[in-house]
């Protein structure tokens, strides 16, 4: 069954690139949505939970890890898989975001193959 996906990034360009890359990865993706910041993402998730959320770390107002903690507090999103997508590569930061409740991590720059590798186990 096709999975719904939400992309959260303050850059509209990066949201389009991630969407393009996910599609190029030929994953079984159904409904897609976007949010330009954490507050918008929370509002959309409260209205309709998604199967997978791809989320930037460095965003103004609400950071990615802050958003992850809030999403983990939403009962409707208990099964939502969260993958962080960021340029941050420091192990301490990766550990922190995984500890905040994220399920995985993809570093920029990325390829469709990298998305396939990280998302396929979550789609099955």
């Amino acid at each position: 069954m096709a999975k719904s996906i939400m992309i959260v990034d303050d850059s509209a360009t990066m949201r389009k690139i991630i969407m393009k890359t996910v599609r190029a990865a030929e994953l079984d993706i159904g409904e897609t949505s976007e949010a330009g910041n954490g507050a918008e993402a929370l509002e959309k998730l409260k209205a309709s939970a998604v199967d997978i959320m791809l989320c930037d770390i460095n965003m103004p107002e609400m950071t990615g890890p802050e958003l992850v903690k809030k999403v983990r507090g939403l009962p409707s999103c208990a099964k939502t898989k969260i993958i962080m997508v960021s340029t941050e590569t420091a192990q301490g930061i990766v550990d922190d975001v995984l500890a905040s409740g994220a399920n995985g991590y993809i570093t920029k720059p990325f390829t469709p193959e990298k998305f396939k590798e990280k998302l396929t186990p979550l789609l099955n």
């Binding site: 303050d10 389009k16 393009k20 340029t87 590569t89 720059p109």
Partner: protein, 176 residues
């Protein structure tokens, strides 16, 4: 640990190459044109630009930590448009607004910074990175007080000139 300029230059160029190959699908290489330092506005013999001319976009991103400074990429408006079109998988004839180009150049600066950081963090220590900023104008240049400066002139897609820059100051260990 102090990091030498050669190491930083190599990491900057390698980071840019990785980003352009993986995400932008454009060739980028260090410009080898003769006399480019003395003549910033001159053109190369093969018709490609040597330096960004006229209106340019400057995408920059600052960092703090064991080393502090600013990484920048500066390119002409046509170059910035081509980069944005390639990133988004658009044709050269597709319309693209200035906001989209600005956003794309900010993302390029962000990704080059990320790639640079991953290459130097073992030697340069932890770097905390800001959100990128992009400005458009003439004769743009980034400046960070008394920071050291590394500039790499690059050629993109054998057509456009661009400039990668790194301003940095290494944190001196405090004596107790």
């Amino acid at each position: 640990m102090m990091v030498d300029e050669v190491c930083l230059s190599e990491a900057l160029l390698a980071g840019a190459i990785e980003v352009f190959e993986t995400m932008i699908f454009m060739d980028i290489r260090e410009s080898t044109a003769q006399g480019q330092e003395a003549s910033r506005e001159s053109s190369s013999q093969d018709g490609a630009e040597q330096h960004p001319k006229g209106n340019t976009f400057l995408g920059s991103i600052t960092f703090t930590g064991d080393m502090e400074g600013c990484l920048g990429i500066c390119c002409s408006v046509p170059c910035a448009r081509a980069i944005a079109q390639n990133m988004l998988g658009m044709a050269q004839t597709d319309e693209l607004g200035e906001a989209e180009i600005t956003d794309a150049i900010g993302e390029v600066a962000n990704m080059v910074m990320g790639s640079f950081k991953s290459r130097v963090q073992k030697r340069a220590g932890n770097l905390n990175v800001s959100i990128p900023t992009v400005v458009k104008g003439r004769s743009l240049d980034a400046s960070v007080g008394d920071a050291s400066r590394t500039v790499i002139n690059v050629n993109i897609a054998d057509e456009y000139a661009a400039e990668l820059s790194l301003l940095y100051r290494q944190e001196k260990k405090r004596e107790n």
